[in-house]
Symmetry: C2
């Protein structure tokens, strides 16, 4: 089955909103072997919407539309669907009672515009939306599936996972060939170096596909293999994975949707270790990433964002002499911060960063992008210098990634480069 | 001028990468009155790419392509451009010397695949890329402009802003009608309530347009007005802005691309105030947002992520009795945390949050989503209860936004609801 995704909304075209919905949908469809062939963004305009529905129907078996189903005047999608399928809008009583219940729960009065959200085209099945007032619309016609959902991400996610994916999965169960994908996640090595270390790429892949996807956190290698059965495709993937790991394994911190913080969390929880973090230049980003993991209190004890020199001395017992002699951004202070946070919190491990993120604060001696990261346990402390770029937010991302990677290598005994 | 954006990359279609590039491009084009009429994502496939180039040329004056210009085998965009324009690839010596210089600066050996990145179609001007090795491609033909840039966001951003936007801006300088857009950013009130408080929307708008864009941080109201001159459009916008502010002004924290943390930063810096933050459930997110602002050390003194009860007692002098009697997630502890962080850091203001983000940790008494936020200065301490949802990451976002909004209202003397 081939899918065509349509996002409706001027706010996406003019760049006011980042379209995270299509990546969520793309990922879920790929998991059930529905191939996304195209994704488009169009304006909230009646004629444009109708034309795009026609185009999508001519190209794909599954059409998934998001956006334009809200309660206000600028939401026109539902009217277009009703017209396109020549099917009048009728009140759906079960959706209406969902909407009423939601308002009771929130202790608010229901209004007419909210009640009207329970109108859906007669030809459609309604998709319930427990997180909001706009239901989704599901239509099967001429062997094709048409789905429309609201554009608010957390509303759409639930509806897609609970209703749309199971329905499509059932329809798509007869397959001739299956394809499987594996992502290997690396950090600390540029794309072109990774590419070269892999040697003869055609020999390595032997008909499978490999894409390199770089960003500030590292390079993702996406491998896709096909086979007559799932097992055949999986075996091809496994063989390539093993070859790649033998060549560049030290840079591979995870697979697929792993995040580096999840990998760290698992390592710490498995070993029963607790971590504390002292951040200067990253301002809480490292702790924020670690506490995004459910159950993080099992391994994350505390984080101190010692932005000022005073806070470094008071909370972490960094010596004033070291700050005076080497500067707050130095290998020595990074080491002392790591040892200090571990001592004050009584954890097994301490992780610390200090650096200059820009745009201000740089000097000839200590340019913007200079970062020191320290990590320690009860017997060893190690610290390392990094040189990143000029952009503050990218530097925060890169520093947080490098710090978590240093910790990963520390825990696994992999030497730093 | 009308623009058509094409993103090339399987990784976007299968949902492995969120397409932030098109929102960046859309925003910059909108600023210079180039209207984005459509944005599409297609696979790294020769025939599909060529077909999409044809479609874009038939619909728009400006075609902007991102992706598929990297050094590895899966990057096919350049070959397609060369074929589409029937223009052979030639070595661009100035780009080649840029690439060589970049490698010298990074202390790495240049390779043949990196050198080949300096090949560009004869018909094109090269766009320099100081942040990477793939140059951009700029072609003017038959009154239309075709641009291709690498998909790595920070590389593309620079090339777009420094080269493409100035060039298009010059070409687009003759206009008949101009349109201007204003975004009013609100938080703490649902979309449908905002809509109702605005009363008769057609009377309010008088021909201008208004869109409501909700997410977990709040609702953005985007107003678009047209006029024969910039001044006429601006005056219409201003009039609507004033009416909206008179109706729902207390919920409006900023305009356009303001972030709530920027608004806070400005308030603090203007008044010469310093802030410290104590976070439990948000795990560093509030401090991270505040330190995303350049020069944040002027107003942000420190942040303590007192995840454990021990850390709350040790660092913030929260009383053990209060934790035992009311629980770590309580109004009393939020107040004590705010007072404690202010006292320990000697800042003018203290901000503190404690709550249950899920998926674990909830109870009948204290369900997931329950949050208490405290804020204080040297004379007043205030705290408030919030009830959010079930999703950990959304709850972190909402809590951080509610905390910053409470601080904003505290600073401006706006009462909480």
């Amino acid at each position: 089955m081939k899918a065509y995704l349509i996002t409706i909304g001027d706010e996406i075209l003019i760049g006011q909103t980042v379209n995270t919905n299509v990546s969520f949908i793309g990922e879920k469809l790929t998991e059930i072997d529905v191939q996304v062939i195209k994704s488009t963004v169009i304006a909230d305009d009646h004629n444009i919407i109708i034309d795009e529905f026609k185009e999508a129907f001519s190209k794909a078996d599954v059409i998934i539309v998001t956006g334009g189903l809200g309660p206000t005047h600028d939401d026109v999608t539902k009217k277009c669907i009703s017209e396109f399928f020549n099917s009048e809008l009728v009140m759906n009583e079960s959706i209406l009672s969902d909407v009423k219940e939601l308002f009771i729960k929130r202790g608010r009065e229901i209004t007419k515009i909210n009640e009207e959200q329970a109108l859906i085209p007669k030809i459609a099945k309604a998709i319930r939306n427990p997180n909001g007032t706009a239901p989704g619309i599901y239509i099967e016609k001429e062997g094709k599936v048409f789905v429309a959902m609201p554009g608010v991400p957390f509303e759409m996610h639930y509806m897609l996972e609970e209703n749309v994916i199971p329905a499509l999965s059932e329809l798509n169960s007869v397959k001739v060939e299956t394809s499987k994908t594996l992502n290997l996640l690396t950090t600390g090595i540029p794309e072109s170096f990774l590419y070269q270390r892999l040697g003869d790429i055609d020999e390595l892949l032997n008909g499978s596909r490999l894409a390199f996807l770089p960003n500030q956190f590292g390079v993702k290698m996406r491998i896709t293999s096909k086979g007559k059965t799932e097992e055949e495709a999986s075996n091809k993937l496994l063989e390539i994975e093993q070859k790649i790991r033998s060549l560049v394994g030290r840079y591979v911190y995870g697979k697929n949707n792993d995040s580096l913080e999840e990998v760290i969390a698992k390592l710490l929880v498995d070993r029963g270790l607790k971590l504390s973090v002292a951040e200067s230049c990253t301002g809480g980003l490292i702790s924020n990433r670690l506490t995004n993991i459910p159950g993080s209190s099992a391994f994350f004890e505390r984080g101190l964002i010692t932005y000022s020199n005073g806070a470094k001395v008071e909370h972490l017992n960094v010596s004033e002499d070291a700050i005076a002699e080497f500067g707050a951004v130095s290998l020595q202070v990074a080491q002392q911060m790591a040892e200090g946070i571990r001592a004050v919190s009584g954890t097994d491990l301490g992780l610390a960063v200090t650096g200059i993120m820009g745009p201000g604060g740089g000097s000839a001696d200590k340019p913007i992008g200079l970062v020191y990261i320290g990590v320690c346990d009860n017997s060893v402390v190690t610290a390392k210098e990094f040189k990143f770029g000029d952009n503050r937010l990218l530097n925060k991302d890169r520093t947080s990634q490098a710090a978590l990677e240093m910790l990963r290598r520390f825990l696994l005994g992999i030497p730093n480069d």
